[in-house]
């Protein structure tokens, strides 16, 4: 039932608003609503019950293992959530004077410092509101840099073909053309192809390392050399920074600019689709272009906002205020909880879990996409053989896992690996849980062999069975039309 189905004319959660009032008489008639909008009219209990029960129709980290590759579904400490929910933070207006904001600004300034250290960058701006906006800021800075150098012919961004969809989409949003660079069968960027692709039109290269193939790009220094020699800059998609947290710094690999996904690496909850936070870090060359606002520190110490007056070449603002401020506070709290040793462990145990799982799945008979490589924090299996021989696809495996009480791994990404599952266990899952997942995968493989229809028909235990996506896109039903109240 939709919340609208609970609605009854005249009902209401009337502890939440005052008695009916006359509309203000000073407002001209042409500015007044002509009829009620048709929001639900329900009691407070109906609201609580409806949405509580809706929540129970979700999988989540708090209820299930959720090995969604590239998405880093790890434990979101409740303490960080509470820290950011302190009344002083929640009630602070974003435009409150700096004198009334020193606590908040101190957190942000320190977070900038930590992020500089873990990335090996020279400066950080926290304002981007998700990974994709961080990418945007980064690529816009690359554009601004070339422009300021009068280097107008640099119209192309190079991107490995395995890259996340936001990379090419971002490049285009920033007015660039995208040129894809192939990846070798070992999962590395094809350096020869890269050499062939660079040129005076190259504004930069966007890549991530470890790559979306779940392996570490071994020749990263060489790649950086090629791009830099061609006059381009290197962009690091740090969505998966957790893989290398405390192990290796993008700045040391030669990257000029990066974003990181605090909602992944720094464990802020994903909220069923956000909010996130995608700070950008830059090396010396791009420092003048950072998006505003940034937090500065003056002797005292006194913290203050830096804006276009302080960073005259800034690419500008990306939001009305300071990005997803509350997520920054959560990330800060998480950073304090972990500390340097805790961060160091993130990459290590995430990697241990992934390698363990990869090997155990291989022993169960699954095919690793890159069997000769170390897994990083994630790895890929390909079910091309199962699909061919048994007619059971990666999607079928994914759906069947739901019945076993596990969220499915990422399916069909990266696109270049057929019938793949990208699996990321994260460091916060314990060995027993990982073993249970491996057992479930083994059991499904057995089912696929003995009763493939069972797997193809799954899931069976969810609130719905497989949905008709084609119908959804064809008979667009994006908002409930009826019942609507009469004017």
């Amino acid at each position: 039932m939709l919340i609208f189905d609970h609605s009854s004319k005249g009902r209401g959660a009337t502890a939440q608003f005052g008695p009916p009032m006359e509309p203000a008489s000073d407002l001209p008639a042409e500015h007044l609503r002509s009829s009620p909008a048709g929001l639900p009219e329900v009691s407070e209990l109906q609201v609580v019950r409806h949405f509580t029960n809706l929540s129970r129709r979700n999988f989540s980290i708090d209820t299930q293992f959720y090995p969604l590759g590239s998405c880093t579904m790890k434990y979101n400490p409740r303490g960080a959530h509470r820290a950011a929910s302190q009344p002083g933070f929640l009630n602070r207006h974003p435009l409150a004077p700096e004198a009334q904001s020193q606590g908040f600004l101190a957190c942000l300034w320190e977070l900038q410092e930590y992020l500089k250290d873990v990335t090996g960058m020279k400066a950080v701006s926290l304002t981007p509101m998700a990974g994709a906006q961080g990418e945007f800021a980064g690529v816009a800075m690359i554009r601004a840099y070339h422009q300021r150098n009068g280097d107008d012919g640099r119209t192309e961004i190079l991107i490995p073909d395995a890259a996340h969809g936001t990379n090419p989409a971002t490049a285009v949003m920033c007015g660039f053309k995208v040129r894809e660079v192939p990846v070798t069968r070992e999962g590395d960027v094809d350096i020869n192809a890269l050499r062939a692709a660079v040129g005076p039109q190259t504004a930069g290269l966007m890549m991530t390392n470890p790559s979306t193939c779940g392996v570490f790009e071994r020749r990263i220094q060489e790649i950086a050399g090629v791009v830099h020699e061609a006059g381009g800059l290197l962009y690091y998609d740090g969505a998966n920074l957790n893989a290398i947290l405390g192990q290796v710094k993008p700045g040391d690999m030669g990257f000029d600019v990066l974003h990181m996904n605090l909602h992944k690496t720094f464990a802020t909850p994903h909220g069923g689709g956000g909010p996130g936070s995608g700070p950008v870090g830059v090396g010396q060359r791009l420092i003048d272009f950072l998006p505003t606002p940034v937090v500065g520190r003056e002797p005292g110490p006194r913290f203050r906002w830096l804006d276009e007056q302080d960073i005259p070449h800034t690419i500008g603002r990306l939001s009305a205020f300071m990005g997803n401020a509350g997520i920054l506070l959560r990330a800060y709290a998480y950073a304090r909880l972990l500390g340097r040793d805790g961060m160091y462990r993130v990459g290590r145990y995430a990697t241990l879990n992934a390698n363990y799982m990869a090997r155990q799945l291989e022993k169960k008979g699954f095919t690793l996409a890159y069997p000769d490589r170390r897994a990083t924090h994630e790895f890929i299996i390909t079910l091309a053989k199962e699909n061919r021989e048994l007619g059971v696809s990666a999607m079928d495996f994914a759906k069947r896992l739901l019945d076993y009480g596990f969220h499915a791994p990422t399916t069909y990404f990266p696109l270049l690996i057929p019938e793949c599952l990208l699996i990321e266990p994260t460091e916060t899952e314990c060995r027993e849980e990982i073993d249970r997942f491996i057992e479930a995968m083994g059991a499904i493989l057995e089912e696929a062999r003995t009763d493939p229809d069972l797997v193809r028909g799954s899931p069976y235990t969810m609130p719905v069975k497989r949905l008709d996506d084609v119908k959804a896109a064809r008979d667009l039903d994006l908002a409930l039309i009826d019942p609507r109240p009469a004017p």
Binding site: G175, G339, L352
Partner: protein
């Protein structure tokens, strides 16, 4: 006790690993199964010279207790008195239900609902949200959020350029009385695609767009006209006429609307003859704390005709194999994970949790509640204007109706007056001198339903004292 922050640095690493559940036995047996001697070996594909040392810029870890104490102290430092600042973020009452339910683990810690069968809760909720937003604005369709109001407007501009079938223009005409940070955000974003933004000035008398001014832009081939409702000064432009004019000029009409105002004010779909084409804005007033500026949510609505140009996630209702109703992500061919470089936007993670809060908020309020809250805000503003007039001879800078926010004209620099009010723990508003030097003596002040009569009196007294303090 006496746990100083650095005491934790001395912890035995393997016995004290917050959030990492591995015991020494686990670690040993897992390494054994992999066939390596230690974790270090798992990183052997990384060139050795790249391995980093300790993160000396990061302090040692602390316990949750110590962290919460630190954060409580920092938060206390920022808890100062009462605020009348609005300017795009409004302190409304948030029913306790909203976050009690939105913070349930199943909402809070789920990912984007890619696996529809295991995400019906979030998916149905977004469908309900889409319905509510489309009903409020009168538009046919809403998406599942973009980042915030400002970036929503930027996306709307890009969308307007793509969607305008009658004009190939890459120029946008934008009201000069929109939120200045929105304008800045749009410039950052759209100029990369060689889109230009022109602004129209506001009338010195009314604060609304003067018709003479925008009439000067006739026949100049813009892709879209952007208007703000209310405008940055809380005033109400003649959106009906503006809409008709824009359509006349083959421009799309992009409306930036405070959705709380729609509790009593006219839905954009009903502006002028044909209504607005794209409606965007900041959803923060719907159950989301001002919280230092975020996370909020940008909302975005349009009609079906141009929905394929809309960025962001969209949920559709469909059927499952057994014919049962269900919900799923749809029109994914607009999105980066399918369309990559050809997507309508690069947006991926959006503001799902805030959508959850807003949906619960709107369910609790309903039409009557929203009208009631909007009216209370409005009446409070009128009462404050009246008090300032009667007691201090202070008046609004502009004539004409306002919604819950007003530009007061002061006999001194607003910056100084506001500072003197802040000394009394009253944040009196936003210094309009920062917006436009012509308004250096004006402050933008907001009243919501959370402000009592006593609060308004406190404002008036603080203002009186402040005016004296600055020598008026």
């Amino acid at each position: 006790m006496l746990r100083t922050i650095d005491a934790t640095a001395k912890r035995n690493l393997t016995s004290h690993m917050p959030f990492v559940p591995h015991t020494q036995d686990d670690e040993a047996s897992m390494l054994n199964a992999i066939g390596v001697a230690d974790i270090e070996t798992l990183f052997d594909e990384i060139p050795a010279e790249l391995r980093s040392g300790r993160l000396l810029g990061v302090p040692a870890g602390i316990s949750e207790m110590a962290m919460l104490r630190l954060m409580a102290e920092r938060s206390a430092a920022d808890s100062s008195g009462i605020s009348f600042i609005g300017a795009g973020a409004y302190e409304h009452h948030i029913p306790s239900v909203v976050w009690d339910v939105a913070s349930r683990g199943e909402f809070l810690t789920a990912y984007t609902p890619y696996q529809a069968e295991a995400s019906q809760g979030t998916l149905q909720l977004i469908y309900e949200y889409q319905t509510m937003m489309s009903r409020l604005t009168g538009m046919e369709v809403a998406n599942a959020s973009v980042y915030d109001g400002a970036s929503a407007l930027a996306e709307a501009m890009l969308m307007g350029v793509r969607a305008n079938k009658k004009s190939k223009s890459r120029r946008i005409l934008c009201a000069g009385n929109i939120h200045p940070h929105y304008l800045k955000t749009c410039r950052t974003i759209v100029t990369n695609q060689q889109i230009e933004i022109d602004t129209v000035d506001w009338s010195e008398e009314y604060g609304t767009l003067s018709s003479s001014l925008w009439r000067e832009r006739e026949d100049q081939d813009y892709a879209a006209l952007v208007v703000s409702y209310p405008n940055f000064f809380g005033g109400l432009d003649d959106v009906g006429k503006l809409t008709d004019w824009a359509h006349d000029q083959n421009m799309l009409l992009i409306a930036v609307v405070n959705p709380m105002a729609l509790g009593i004010l006219r839905a954009p779909a009903e502006w002028g003859q044909a209504g607005a084409d794209i409606v965007v804005g900041e959803g923060q007033p719907f159950g989301i704390p001002v919280a230092s500026g975020g996370p909020y949510l940008g909302y975005m609505c349009c009609n079906k005709a141009i929905v394929r140009q809309m960025p962001g996630r969209i949920i559709g209702r469909t059927l499952d194999q057994d014919g049962r109703e269900g919900f799923t992500l749809t029109l994914q061919a607009r999105e980066q994970h399918i369309r990559r470089g050809k997507a309508t936007s690069n947006i991926c993670t959006n503001q799902g949790l805030l959508v959850t809060a807003a949906t619960i908020y709107l369910s609790l309020l309903g039409d009557r509640g929203l009208a009631s809250v909007a009216t209370e805000c409005h009446n409070g503003m009128l009462a404050l204007i009246d008090k300032c007039r009667v007691r201090l001879d202070i008046h609004p800078r502009f004539s004409g109706p306002v919604f819950h926010e007003v530009a007061f004209e002061l006999p001194a620099r607003a910056a100084d007056v506001l500072a003197a009010m802040a000394d009394q723990d009253v944040l009196g508003g936003y210094d309009l001198g920062e917006f436009d030097a012509r308004l250096a003596n004006c402050m933008l002040t907001n009243v919501t339903e959370t402000r009592t009569e006593a609060d308004l009196d406190r404002f008036v007294e603080a203002l009186a004292v402040a005016l004296k303090a600055v020598g008026c």
